[in-house]
Symmetry: C2
Subunit: 239 residues, 2 copies
């Protein structure tokens, strides 16, 4: 099984300290919500966000939305080999059920996440009744998430590391299709727009690598990685 | 060069025949536009759309939006090996400049396309002044688009065909990295939600194939194909 961890995701409710700001109040009014029920979003809250610590790494729900659409729609997920975790900037964990079909519309996705962060769970209409489409656990650091998954191998992606395909990373650890069928492999990617990880990747992962010599959109990174995992497992047509 | 053609894309202005429908009028009012300046979108116009011919293949701007974000962000495009064309259900051609950074927000994307369809061009702020970010040409069938591109090879993707990776398709035609550097390869994918192509793919393409045994999201197909093209060209880390 592959475990994809979106780390330090720029996904949170509007923090208390800016709920009175005009940009926040106006946007809440438009969406018919209280300010602190809204998801922080730079598209609407830019002027208010500048008051926040570390604001350039926050308020980008579109990054995680697009990347989740890519991961949930992947052949790796369709074939049952992927588990997806969102770790947020506030150390929450959101587990995404492989069968969850997320709204393609960002505003609806934000509505869903807002409900989840306020209420703690979202049960839904998948085949099995009572499945939690999205499950929230608070106070979960990356370390705790890794303890929970207990993977055999942990890899991480970051900028300015040795450039390798994920396929090559797996092969350099001697991992072939049969190993991958049995093993739990975790991969950490950052889901924030700018800057550096706060966590110490090289302490958590046995290998930190890049797939390209420049910054890519997160969804480009994710599709690249997942397709390599599919190919390594022999799922999506052998070469 | 790879030429990606999104065929029969479900992208159009609200057609005259439903401009008076309450669902259309309400949505136009909300966005401060005249009904016929709005992009047809099943999310908002569902009840009105049922009056249209062929309605199940129409009104899905989100499909082309997501897929363009994937193609524009791809390593193949970043490395200058991709040209992207949108053929619409109304036989318009929209050429997307490789440097165009599209809005991540669907509503803003729809605004841009509406402006383009009404005014015919969108010049913009890329490095070279005067570059057309998106260029519209009317009365362009797929046949005419292929005449304009004049590719050496045309391939197409469709459901229920032989399952092959794009890499394998290229290899089965004896095409290696050096050939691909020099050749123009066109690939046709359908950018509509349901049903069959109206064009006759097997007349236009030398090979029609599938990459998976079931329906996939278009963006999953696109990333799969583009990553194979990158790998075939030796761009994104050799195996």
């Amino acid at each position: 099984m592959f475990h994809l961890i979106f780390a330090e995701s720029a996904l949170e409710l509007v923090p208390d300290e800016i709920r009175g700001h005009p940009a926040v109040r106006n946007q809440a009014q438009r969406s018919g919500k209280r300010p602190t029920e809204d998801i922080l979003d730079g598209t609407f809250h830019h002027s208010a966000m500048k008051r926040l610590d570390n604001w350039e790494q926050r308020g980008r729900p579109d990054i995680i939305h697009m990347s989740l659409l890519v991961s949930q729609g992947s052949i790796l997920n369709r074939e049952g080999h992927l588990r997806t975790y969102i770790h947020t900037i506030n150390n929450e964990l959101i587990e995404v059920d492989p069968k969850t079909r997320l709204p393609r519309n960002l505003e609806r996705f934000k509505g869903l996440i807002s409900k989840l962060l306020l209420e703690g769970e979202l049960k839904g209409r998948t085949e099995e009744a009572g499945t939690e489409l999205l499950k929230l656990t608070k106070l979960m650091t990356i370390e705790k998430i890794l303890e929970k998954i207990a993977p055999d191998k942990v890899y991480a992606l970051d900028d300015r590391q040795t450039i390798m395909t994920f396929k090559k990373v797996l092969r350099s650890d001697g991992l072939g299709p049969k190993d991958l069928e049995k093993m739990n492999i975790a991969l950490i990617v950052g889901a924030f727009p700018h800057g550096e990880f706060k966590i110490n990747l090289s302490k958590l992962a046995s290998k930190v690598f890049s797939i390209y010599g420049d910054t890519l959109e997160l969804w480009t990174v994710v599709s690249n990685i997942l397709i390599d995992a599919e190919r390594a497992l022999g799922l999506s047509g052998s070469d």
